[in-house]
Symmetry: C2
Subunit: 340 residues, 2 copies
DNA sequence: CTGAAAGCGCTAACAT
DNA sequence: ATGTTAGCGCTTTCAG
């Protein structure tokens, strides 16, 4: 069943049918439009947009690349992207790379081959396949970065937060409430967000005149397991620690569990600060104090920007920074500290 | 840049180029293949699979419909699907319906228009648009159900668990450990999994000779908020309750938080049983006893089945049931109960 | 308002 | 082994 069949059945040309399935406001009398629509409904014809796409060189499809949807940070972001896409009639390809540059390249190639209209990418690492990279750049396909910057696409716009200031704000709170020996479970070593948050951590220490100790910052993954293992292993060696700053709420989840098992009261003996404010954070025990970023909005806004890039709207090539805010719950102490 | 350009540059016909970009084992000498590959690499040509797809009527794309990726149950499932898809060279369209039949229909139509090779669907509700429904059925496009059954696609295969037996197993554990007044926060009323789990709940009560109380089963959503609100509101009215069976771990998350705030010791005064075993269950406080279903595997297996449907492999039209297992952690009491 | 026809980029026989 | 050609289903001028 194709456009020709419909044309024949109604007794018009395929051009006319094409106009109605594309909601062309003009060029079709209401009467023929109605007849065509009726036949389409009767036979249950569904136009082949693939075929249309090759003619108009637009697919109404965008691709999204993230490390892992199982990382609790991403579902909200993905949902933001998807909502915006769907509201504008776009479909969304979802891809998980596990931060593997190889997988990322496989997906990127698939996106290009399937001619997506734009790409949203939360990436890390540098592409090996420079030919692919060059093809992507030359193609001029719109790319918008999500949350992380990367050298391969340094010239591309993105939606970010100021990780440095956000971390500074969080750690300052820790310090304000009397903490001075602050462990920092930082996240992956060579990721943009990690290094920025580290800068914020350092800045807060510096301003409070607390000496920076390199052995207080530990790199790892954005997983609860990492938070758990690190605390279990390290804390006995650092009994003086009075706070831990988890580089992501997912990490804090594990930290809290370890502390609970070790029967260390939070926040009385050790304060715990998270980062992200994933949906789960308020349900932890104790509810997690965390630096909140607008996860859903970042996704939604990035998708909006991508669409405006696709439409070549002016200003769509500029990055944007979203605001963050400290959410005080019960894993850190209240009010002003006593030692500062 | 298209296949013709490459053909001209190398001095061969587009047919030959087509053979090499499709890895045709035969029909092209190693020497020309090398020359073509070299040129492709040099100019960074990326074939347009869309165009190919309309010729071969295959898109190497599948569509997945779920209620909401933000529901902690789904990320793992989606990841299972996506891994299988990617391993087989398929791309994945992700769609969230919020259980809205209207959205589901929009997505389904988009899938059909974009000619996906198959559809994976976790659905509820009956489609309004019967024309669309009929078109889908007539098209013969492979559909595999995920976790939930639905009347619209009653004849389609799917990957499920035995929700009734699983719930029976869980509730029996509660009873074995001495609970008799078991509140059941069931989940959405007219969803297949809810009604099945209710049957299991009833069966366990029946066998233990515990009278069934209709007011002990409360319907709601699969959210922590629902679990939280329900407990806060209801428990004061039912002081005799000694256990709550949450129809999903996401619900249990809220239950635990409410109980904590009400300073009701778990499991000493009230046991809490979850269902699903989402990744965070073990990080809750106390770690949640739950009926585990193999979430990732359900997704992966469903995708495998869909692909074998696409390939018309024999037996691919049969549903499969995955096993469940009770995971005892610390939100329920140990061993045999004292009152049974 | 409507029809005819030339593509869009690629595949798949069928020739050579 | 390679070239030729007729589609795949739709869009879009350009006439009428």
């Amino acid at each position: 069943m194709n456009i020709n069949d419909i044309a024949h059945m109604v007794g018009v040309s395929k051009g006319t049918v094409s106009r109605v399935i594309n909601n062309s406001k003009t060029g079709v009398s209401e009467e023929t439009r109605a007849r065509i629509l009726k036949t389409i409904e009767e036979v249950g014809y569904i136009p082949n947009r693939m075929a249309g796409s090759i003619a108009i060189a637009k697919t109404k499809t965008i691709g999204l690349i993230i490390p892992d949807i199982q990382n609790l940070f991403f579902p909200q972001m993905v949902r933001g992207v998807e909502n915006c896409a769907m509201e504008n009639g776009y479909s969304l390809f979802l891809c998980n790379t596990d931060s593997s540059i190889r997988k990322q390249e496989i997906y990127l190639r698939a996106f290009m081959e399937k001619r997506v209209d734009g790409i949203l990418i939360n990436t890390c690492g540098v592409m090996q396949d420079r030919t692919l990279w060059k093809s992507i750049c030359q193609s001029g396909i719109p790319i918008v970065l999500l949350d992380r910057k990367t050298s391969d696409f340094a010239d591309k716009p993105g939606i970010f937060i100021d990780n440095r200031e956000a971390a500074y704000m969080g750690v300052s709170h820790l310090i304000d409430t009397g903490c001075r020996k602050i462990l920092f479970l930082c996240g992956p070593k060579d990721v943009f967000t990690s290094s920025e948050r580290l800068k914020g951590y350092c800045k807060a220490l510096h301003i409070a005149d607390i000496p920076y100790r390199e052995d207080y910052v530990i790199y790892g993954t954005h997983t609860a397991q990492y938070g758990y293992d690190t605390i279990k292993e390290l804390l006995p060696r650092y009994p003086e620690v009075d706070a831990v700053f988890a580089g992501a709420d997912t990490i804090a989840v594990g930290v809290l569990k370890a502390l609970r098992e070790m029967e260390i009261p939070v926040p009385d003996q050790i304060s715990v600060l998270g980062f992200d404010n994933i949906m789960f954070s308020e349900f932890l025990s104790p509810p997690l104090t965390t630096v909140a970023q607008p996860i859903y909005d970042i996704g939604y806004r990035a998708a909006e920007k991508l669409l405006s890039c696709i439409r070549h709207e002016p200003g769509s090539d500029k990055s944007e920074y979203m605001g963050t805010v400290l959410i005080q719950r019960e894993s850190t102490r209240k009010g002003r500290g006593d030692e500062t």
